[in-house]
């Protein structure tokens, strides 16, 4: 296309080198970014304002940040979250940590492939209502137009647009901010970069146990992000990685609670019952409670679940022996752990907490 070529030449002539936006901390790979939404500092800054803005809920009571608190690695500390109209989600608010590397979004959705798509669920979904903006997109734009700070923020973020106040630009800016939530400066990271004092003896023993064939943790919590479904420059995405960990077995045939059956909801395939995506373990110590439904309160109890090869629930509507779930991942075989070993594994998991990330003012509420 001659015109595109011409524009590129003009840009080069005017700007020389394109302005580099360095947003990836040392030690982390470069995330894949959708071609139509390249990262810029201005978009991240606009996205940060939107992320913390209660104008983004129907009744203006909640923002994205209501259920994604920075000090909790952008989780909310609740088993499930309460939306702007009082309805509850079925699942635990996921940590927004290194989500730029994730290949599919939310707990068990094989078709949400970008953050730009994913956020339409909390913004506009009605089953359950989260932010509750369904059908209110025009009003949202008018609300943003009425806030003086946005005129400059949108213009800087989308300088080529005549009227940059569009829903597409809102989602692109929010996605850019979310991609910028990168955590790579935990004690464990400093240790792997060559600081032998960054990790305690206990945490080092815990790391070895974590990566042992006895505990099997590392198969699914794999690689730099402790997560098996990641992509980055040089590593193309591989989708469809979801696991059943034997958390439930209601009917003895592998059943999970209705409305929370994981990948099965999408595929209808029996063997996909209870299959959920592996979350990152970075900052895991501050993101309790755990599992897709927040049904385990502490890391120690999570270890109990995996040590048993699947959780047994003795009584109540969800009673069942998860260990015998026929769809359980082959890596969930169970193991024995001494009290000292348990303390070591937990010390290792706690060494993944990145204090700088949890307190970085660049990620905090700008209002």
């Amino acid at each position: 296309m001659p015109s595109r070529l011409l524009r590129a030449v003009i840009l080069l002539a005017a700007c020389g080198e394109p302005e580099a936006f360095d947003w990836v901390p040392e030690g982390l790979p470069v995330p894949l970014v959708p071609e139509e939404n390249p990262m810029t500092a201005a978009k991240v800054e606009l996205g940060r304002h939107l992320f913390y803005d209660t104008r983004l809920s129907g009744n203006q009571t909640q923002a994205c940040a209501t259920c994604h608190l920075q000090e909790l690695a952008f989780t909310d500390g609740d088993a499930v979250s309460e939306g702007s109209t009082g309805q509850h989600t079925r699942r635990n608010a996921m940590a927004l940590v290194n989500i730029a590397y994730t290949t599919t979004y939310t707990w068990a959705n094989p078709v949400l492939l970008t953050l730009e798509q994913q956020m339409l669920t909390p913004l506009f979904g009605d089953d359950p209502v989260e932010l509750g903006l369904r059908g209110m997109e025009d009003e949202l734009i008018e609300r943003l137009r009425a806030e003086p700070r946005y005129a400059g923020l949108f213009a800087d973020a989308f300088p080529d647009d005549g009227d940059p106040l569009t829903l597409t630009n809102v989602t692109h800016a929010l996605a850019s901010f979310e991609r910028s939530l990168l955590s790579g400066d935990s004690p464990y990271d400093r240790y792997t970069r060559g600081d032998p004092d960054a990790l305690s003896e206990s945490a080092r023993r815990g790391a070895a146990l974590f990566s042992s064939e006895r505990l099997e943790c590392f198969h699914c919590h794999a690689g730099f992000n402790f997560q098996d479904s990641v992509a980055y420059a040089g590593k193309p995405p591989r989708n469809g990685i979801f696991h059943n960990t034997g958390l439930y077995n209601i009917d003895g045939k592998g059943g999970y609670p209705a409305g929370n059956t994981g990948l099965h909801e999408f595929t209808g395939v029996a063997a996909d019952m209870g299959r959920f995506r592996v979350p990152t373990l970075r900052n895991i110590a501050v993101t309790a409670p755990y599992m897709h439904d927040g049904s385990i309160a502490t890391l120690s109890e999570v270890l109990d679940h995996y040590a048993a090869g699947g959780r047994t629930i003795a009584a109540g509507p969800y009673a069942g022996v998860g260990r015998d779930n026929p769809y359980k991942s082959g890596f969930i075989r169970g193991f024995e752990l001494t009290a000292d070993e348990r303390a070591d594994v937990i010390a290792f998991l706690e060494s993944l907490t990145d204090e700088a990330f949890l307190t970085d003012p660049a990620l905090a509420d700008p209002w």
Binding site: P34, G86, Q87, H88, T103, T104, T106, N109, P110, V111, L112, L113, T114, E116, Q117, L120, T121, L123, F124, G125, D126, D127, P128, L133, R134, G135, M136, E137, T166, L167, T168, V170, T171, A231, P236, P237, N239, G240, A258, G259, E265, F266, T267, G268
Partner: protein, 297 residues
């Protein structure tokens, strides 16, 4: 060729637009729909009786659906595609959104405007004047075509960008929505959202590869004269096979509210019951050619 034989061809552009190949012209067409509950006009905020398999009472909460691939059928059996006019609101991107709820009563999740006609251009033999052609049938598909169903909602033209018909968690559109409030003094909600399921994506390409169950029923109506008839869509027929007086075993309670909903992926019994009147087989998402929601008036 006899000079008189070519005369009509030469005259055609004077009273009809488009090309004349095969004697076809492009003419504007308007296909009217009307929503009913059995014999009564559909209305938000009104109670209807005799609903479901047990003759229950209920009131509408929603009735909207997307239509594409519209064809008018001539008496010789030929299909003539209707290009849906782009009105920047309820029609565009090759689809029309038909909307019968006006936001009143219990239709609080909807919008206060309605849209009950499809306007477009049909290419066929002229239907007015001497030797006029008659359409005697109508066929269309419910839903949004797969090639636009999974695109970025925020970048699609209206009505494909309607967030109230988006199925954001399933990354596509709700093709057909029918909801109501039933149960009398112990009210509960029952509803149907039809959309494609079993979809698998390819993140590398940023696209959806395919959906196992398309769930786009073809509605074929005979004896439909576009200038004289309208299409009746019966909200009550959606529930015909479902007992409605009290919530069934498939219903879900959450935050003190009971909902009996088929969001296309199950539960099995509920979805089968609600898909069947639309002429859809819930197991495979294919047509059964046996629908009971639409009829000709």
């Amino acid at each position: 060729m006899h000079p008189l034989r070519i005369l009509p061809l030469l005259l055609l552009p004077a009273f009809a637009c488009g090309d004349e190949e095969g004697g076809f012209v492009e003419e504007p067409v308007k296909i009217s729909f009307e929503a009913r509950v059995a014999g009564e006009p559909f209305k938000c905020g009104q109670d209807f009786t005799g609903l479901g398999s047990d003759g229950a009472t209920g009131t509408p909460q929603d009735l909207r659906f997307y239509v594409h691939d519209v064809r008018l059928i001539t008496e010789d059996g030929a299909e003539h595609p209707v290009d849906i006019e782009d009105d920047g609101d309820y029609q565009g991107g090759g689809v029309a959104l038909l909307d019968f709820e006006d936001g009143s009563g219990n239709c609080i999740n909807g919008t206060n405007s309605i849209h009950t006609t499809i306007t477009g251009i049909v290419r066929a033999a002229p239907r007015h004047g001497a030797g006029a052609n008659h359409f005697s049938g109508l066929r269309f598909r419910i839903g949004v075509p797969e090639d636009v169903n999974h695109d970025d909602l925020t970048a699609l033209p209206s009505p494909l960008n309607d967030t109230t018909m988006s199925w954001s968690w399933n990354y596509g559109h709700i093709f057909f929505a029918a909801w109501g409030v039933f149960g009398g003094d112990a009210p509960y909600t029952a509803g149907l959202h039809v959309g494609s399921i079993g979809c698998e994506g390819d993140a590398m390409a940023g696209q959806i590869v395919s959906c196992a169950n398309s769930n786009r029923p073809e509605i074929a109506l005979e004896g439909f004269d576009v200038d004289a008839n309208k299409v009746i869509v019966d909200w009550g027929a959606v529930w015909a096979q479902l007992p409605l007086a009290a919530p069934s075993a498939d219903c879900e309670e959450m935050d003190g509210e009971t909902t009996c909903a088929c969001h296309s992926f199950g539960p099995d019994a509920l979805c089968t019951t609600l898909f069947t009147p639309l002429g859809l087989d819930w197991k495979d998402g294919k047509d059964t050619s046996n629908q009971s929601v639409f009829r000709v008036q």
